[in-house]
């Protein structure tokens, strides 16, 4: 481990924080998901409009409660998946997001993990009432597991605090 803590942000993160792309909700979204929580200090909501016949993502939007890197990660993810078919969107990893943002420092990796985790959740939600394609794994991916762990950890920490109160 390096002895010096890297700079938190790059230019790309700051630009997307200032002018996020695809911010907001899609009222007639046919897939959406929320990942993280207010307690985590990190939360991303993702809204997808998927063309049912071609399985292409025709629109993607997000909302975010979190730091500048969190907002930038969610923003760039929506740009990356627009126009892609669902299977290709599923393949995007947290590392891809970090790279697209010009590289995130390790302390901010979880922002890109949360963004990918929210997308995967939305895709699973889309197939909840439809026949599942073969490429969609039953087992949760690393990103999805990480998101659940973070959400659970916050519950544990919050309970621990309540316990230590007299």
């Amino acid at each position: 481990m390096s002895s010096r803590v890297p700079l938190t942000y790059g230019k790309k993160v700051l630009e997307l924080f200032r002018n996020p792309k695809n911010l907001g909700r899609i009222e007639d979204a046919n897939a959406e998901a929320l990942a993280g929580s207010l307690a985590c200090g990190d939360m991303i909501a993702i809204y997808l409009k998927i063309d049912e016949s071609t399985e292409k993502i025709i629109d993607a939007k997000f909302e975010s409660y979190g730091c500048a890197a969190n907002i930038a990660a969610a923003s760039i993810l929506t740009e990356m998946i627009k126009g892609k078919n669902i299977q290709d969107a599923w393949k995007i990893s947290w590392r891809d997001i970090s790279n697209e943002l010009g590289g995130l420092p390790p302390v901010k990796y979880h922002c890109s993990v949360l963004a990918v985790g929210s997308l995967k959740r939305a895709i699973r939600a889309y197939y909840a009432n439809r026949s599942k394609p073969d490429w969609l794994p039953e087992e949760l991916t690393q990103e999805e597991k990480h998101v659940i762990e973070e959400e659970k950890l916050m519950e544990i920490l919050a309970k621990r605090i309540q316990k230590t109160e007299l």
Partner: protein, 412 residues
């Protein structure tokens, strides 16, 4: 990443941020701005009196020794102690470490360390280090405004207690503790228990008289009195035998080896002198800025909570407010682009998953802590126009960050 890559990326980041039309600096908690008088004193010391090594046997060294001693007498006279009772370190963090770790071998029978749950991490972490070595660490809970639970203290302090460490003023929420009551409780139980107070945030804000306070150890930090960075000090009451925690060639002080940074110490001393020269005026200036800022924010922005007490039990320079539905780190970046520099208790700024332990200890929920802003005013650097500018840009900044969030407050 190579150094040149990094340098390029910082350049790009700064260029992309752009230069704001107006800049207001309220991050004196993390890095206090220096006053010109301290810079002048330091420069003079580099040019003239402070050049030599203060413990070497030549004229240049003697001049340095003299300058260092005069600077120390100056500080000692302000806090009412003897110059021999002051040990310089290079930060308040080091002074706190010296107090906690340096006292750990004082008595083999005393294995209990009592700290408040809202201490600075430079007190909590050394205590936890000792906990791993077999010490028992008791963390005193605080009430909703950050005042330590005195009954709890009284219940836990005993003949096995080595040290009680409670900051005179909390660095994040500005709570001014009743040190006299704390001292009475501890001394009543056993007058050999060490009392340490982290006074980094108290110097220049409340009168500090070491004789009247009757503590054994007190930490100070130069940048928090608008002196140069890289200097701290520990008051060690005469007769208290600490062990050094770093080792090497001794210079003029037994507890902290290595060459003293004489010019910076001279700058520190000058800053201490200046802030105490018109003490009451400075304090009332800070209070007026503080209260204008607090009242302006609480009355103009919905879903806000003041962290810490109100009125005379609050540090004159401290403003700490939680903005619900608004993530604090994003808010600091947004404000930065408007030229307002502040900090946040959000987990994102602390490089760990948990937000400020101080805010959690006073009972704030995680989301309330994540949305906190810490601002400190300065009697020398802040102006009323600065405060009005912050009050002008803050509502829009909060509105924008809230507009990004999936969970929004109900419209009132």
């Amino acid at each position: 990443m190579t150094y040149s890559d990094l340098s390029k990326s910082i350049d790009e980041l700064i260029k992309s941020h752009g230069l704001p039309k107006r800049e207001v600096y309220l991050d004196h908690e993390n890095s206090g701005l220096i006053i010109p008088e301290a810079i002048k004193a330091m420069n003079e010391a580099y040019e003239l009196s402070g050049k030599g090594h203060p413990s070497i046997t030549h004229l240049m060294g003697w001049r340095s020794y003299q300058a260092l001693y005069e600077a120390t007498v100056n500080i000692a006279s302000v806090i009412n102690c003897s110059p021999e009772e002051i040990v310089y370190t290079h930060s308040g963090t080091e002074a706190n470490n010296l107090a906690i770790i340096g006292s750990s071998e004082l008595s083999p029978k005393r294995k209990k360390i009592i700290v408040s749950s809202i201490e600075h991490l430079s007190v909590i972490f050394p205590a936890e280090k000792l906990e791993k070595r077999g010490f028992k660490v008791i963390r005193i809970p605080v009430d909703g405004e950050g005042f330590v639970n005195l009954d709890f203290l009284s219940k836990h302090v005993d003949k096995e207690t080595l040290i009680v460490s409670i900051a005179a003023i909390n660095h994040e929420i500005g709570t001014i503790q009743d040190l006299k009551a704390i001292r009475d409780i501890v001394r009543d139980k056993d007058d050999r228990i060490l009392i340490h107070t982290d006074a980094c945030d108290a110097l220049g804000r409340i009168p500090l008289d070491m004789k009247k306070l009757d503590v054994d150890l007190a930490s100070f930090s130069s940048h928090k009195v608008y002196g140069p960075k890289g200097v701290g000090a520990l008051y060690v009451r005469e007769g208290i035998k600490l062990e050094p925690i770093i080792h090497g060639q001794l210079s003029t002080q037994k507890l902290w080896p290595g060459v003293e940074n004489t010019p910076s110490i001279i700058g520190f001393s000058k800053a201490v002198e200046i802030i105490h020269r018109n003490f009451e005026e400075n304090v009332s200036k800070m209070i007026s800025f503080r209260d204008r800022l607090i009242n302006g924010i609480l009355s103009n922005i919905d879903y806000t909570l003041l962290n810490g007490p109100l009125g005379y039990k609050r540090a004159p320079d401290n403003v700490n407010i939680s903005f619900l539905y608004c993530e604090g780190e994003a808010l600091t970046v947004e404000l930065s682009m408007k030229g307002v520099y502040v900090s946040s208790g959000s987990a994102c700024t602390s490089r760990v998953l948990e937000p400020s332990h101080v805010l959690l200890a006073i009972g704030r929920k995680y989301e309330e802590a994540h949305g906190s802003l810490l601002m400190k005013v300065s009697p020398f650097h802040t102006t009323l126009e600065d405060i009005e500018y912050v009050l002008e840009v803050l509502p829009d900044a909060v509105r924008r960050i809230r507009s990004l969030s999936p969970i929004k407050p109900k419209v009132r």
